[in-house]
Structure formats: C-alpha cells, structure tokens
Subunit: 248 residues, 2 copies
C-alpha cells in the first residue's frame, strides 16, 4: 500500500495567466498550480518534474511531467479530480503509471514547438494572447530557406539567451519549417533533441527580419555561423509559442 | 468651437472580462469602459449609445455606438488616444463625425451574428472563451433545414427570452445558415432586421438538439410555430456568440 509510484501526466495549458512553468516567488506558475492541487488530491506533498520549462505567456498543447507518490488513487481518478480542481486554463489529458526510472526531463528524446504569427496589417484582438502580430507582409520562401540551414547537428550559440550559462550549445534539429495559411496565420514548426533557453524565440525573431526584408538570407547565415548572440535579431514575444510534443 | 458633434465609433471587443455592453452595478461593462475613457480624452462626460446590448461574455467583431460631445478633438486622434487608454480587449476600428440625427440603435437597418461551436469530443482549451463545446457529432444538413424555416418575416416568440416583455416579436430574418469546417468548428450565421433578447442563443440551443438527434426537424417546426418559449431547447451559452455587423 505504501509502495511509491511514479506517475506521469500529459497536459495542455494556456500560459497567459501564469508566470511560466517553474515555481517562483513573483506569481503563480503551472508547476505550483499542479503541486498545490496534487497535494489536495493525494494528501501528501509532491514535487512535479516537467520535461522542461516554458516561459511566462508560453502555451503547451502537450507538456509532460511526473511525480512520485505513495497514494493508491488510480491515475484516471486522479486525472478527473485534478481537472475539476484546476482552473479552466490547464487540462490534464492523460495520467498513468510509469516505471520507477522514468524522468520527464532526462528521459525526453525530442521536443516540438510551434510559433504562430498573425500577419495582417490590422490587429487581431482574439489572437492577442496566442500569436505575435507582425504587420509587414512576410516573405515565406526566404524564411524557409533560412530555416533549412538549421536542420542537422549545429552549434546554436547565436540563438541562445544571455542567461544560458555554459551549457553545451550543440543541438540536433530534425525539423525547421514555416508555412502560411489563407487566414493570415504564419506558423513555424521546430523539432530538436533539445532547445537552448529562448532558442525558438530568438530564431523566429531573426528569421522574421529576413521575412520582412530587413536582413538577407546571407546575413542570416553569417549570424548563425558567427555563434554570437549579439548579432541575432530580437527575441520574438512569448505568446506566439506553443510546446506541441515531447517524445520519449 | 462649442458646437455639439455627433461621433460614431466602430469597435470590436472580447467580451470575456465584461458584464456585457450595458453599464450596471455588478461589474465593468463595455459601455462603462468607453464612457470612462472618453471622459478622460474629451474632458467632458458623455453618454454612449450602442446599436444594441450584448450579454456578459458575448463578443463583437463590429459593434457601433455614438455619442455627442463639444470637444474639437479630431475623430482619428480620439480613436488613437482611446486605443492607448483602453485595455487590449477593446479596440476602436473607426471614429467619425455623423449627422446630428444619427442614432446607433434607432438608425440601424440589420444586424448579423455568428455563433461558434467547438464540435469535437475533446475540449479545446484555447477556444473555451470563444465557442460552445458540444461533444456529440452534429448533423449539419438537418440543422440547416431547421434554419431555412426561419428566413422571412415571422413571429419569433418561441425563441425570445422570458424577460423580453411585450415587445413586438415579429422580425425579418434575411439569413440563417450553418456550416462546419475541417478543424472541428461549426458556425451559425444570422442576419435580421432585429433580434429579440437571447434570440440567437435560444435558436442555436434548440437547433443543436436536432443536430445531436434529440429532436426531429418536425419537432423544431412545431416549436417554432407554437410561439411558446417553454417548448424550445436550452439557451446556448454566451461565449460562442459574436456580433459581426450592424448595417445602416
């Protein structure tokens, strides 16, 4: 009965109202909302391990986390209970037992992100929390050429955030694409074995400079090869970013 | 300089955070947000007249209102100033002088509404404020047949709200249609020379009963012809409703 179980949650969330994934003092985080309600459900305090952090305002369609608990409550009952306790901007899609050694972050294989831009001159009130508004018309083909330079195994130092420390900046990028639909939405898709802090937002900010004609594709290539963060463009704002998959 | 001008605003808003259009004591309304900020901009109190009320949680892609003021501030400057004062869930698309006799409500010709349903089994976190979640698969053709009964000049008493009073319940419906897209969104479109209180939401609630097989098209026809509100289905929730046009 007191055997410790390892439980994995797959969840989605609207990050608008949260100060990111990680528990902190400034305001409520996704991790805190989960831990506080798990404590109510389980009657014991637990530490939730996420597959990775998301920044304030960033969303997730598929985030993965796990925690260890002694409680015997079946995972599906836990899921339902949690969904009724949590606010309507976090929803647990699945809860299940996983082997003792499973760790959401260390066990993760690859991750996927989407970044969405609202690309019309007029603002879109209803997408204000779910897209970056770029009003200049974006040239999709040129942006796609930039992204194709990123696939493969590379040093992504040019796109790491200032506070990344001296983490190994080499990552394997499996997918880096951009497309536009007729409703005015431009969507970037990235898949890699890992992402440096702010890497997607820094890439998007720099590629968009090419899309709106402020930089050439050659300049983008130079920035990428320079390994110098100071050469890259602005960091795209958080509300356009969605964590869409974590593979194990 | 002190000549009174009649100024018309065309605006859009996300109604999620508001207690509807009309000023009231329970909480902040769209009208109140406009009047409070117009007072700051103009230096004089004004009364804003809307084309009609929207309920708490209902949105507008195109709402029209007008007010009279002595101020000489040019409408475009007023528009920009208001947009910087207002929160990001209200946006003024246009501001312009109109003839003295223009009245947003009395002068209105026809109005259009859209009602959006999220029609997949799983909930959609990101549309929770912008759609009604109906998880049973909806039969679009049958709902379309119901709606085709509504076009033309009819007594809509079956779909008026209890608190409508003894207003003339006859309205001319120019358009009543439904369609589904591949992303799981079912959209109703209505255009009429006027709508009774809660009329769109009562129609949608009843038509959806046909769509999910709980009522037949014949039953819908009987309800419509009975002129008895108590026979109709539930009132669809507010967050799926959008005021999309007011014609003059």
């Amino acid at each position: 009965m007191d055997e410790i179980k390892n439980i994995r949650l797959i969840l989605e969330y609207d990050g608008t109202a949260y100060h990111g994934w990680q528990r902190q003092k400034n305001g409520i985080s996704i991790q805190e909302a989960l831990e506080d309600n798990l404590r109510i459900m389980l009657g014991e305090p637990v530490s939730v391990i996420g597959s990775g952090r998301t920044d304030a305002g960033v969303h997730a369609l598929h985030q993965v986390c796990n925690f260890k608990a002694a409680s015997d409550i079946p995972p599906e009952a836990l899921r339902r209970g949690m969904n009724s306790l949590l606010k309507d901007d976090i929803f647990i899609l699945r809860a299940e037992y996983v082997p003792e050694g499973f760790h959401s972050r260390y066990s993760a294989g690859s991750k996927s992100y989407e970044y969405r831009i609202w690309n019309r001159r007029e603002k879109n009130l209803f997408l204000r929390h779910y897209s970056w508004h770029v009003h200049e018309s974006l040239e999709i083909t040129g942006m796609g050429e930039c992204l194709s330079l990123l696939t493969g195994r590379h040093d992504f130092s040019s796109f790491k955030s200032a506070g990344s420390g001296n983490l190994n900046p080499v990552r394997e990028m499996m997918r880096a694409e951009v497309s536009a639909n007729e409703e005015g939405i431009v969507t970037f898709v990235f898949e890699a074995d890992g992402f440096l802090r702010h890497m997607v937002r820094n890439i998007v900010g720099t590629v968009v400079d090419v899309g709106r004609g402020r930089r050439s594709i050659d300049e983008f290539r130079e920035i990428f090869h320079s390994l110098d963060r100071k050469k890259a463009g602005i960091k795209a704002p958080p509300q356009g970013l969605f964590l869409t998959m974590v593979n194990y």
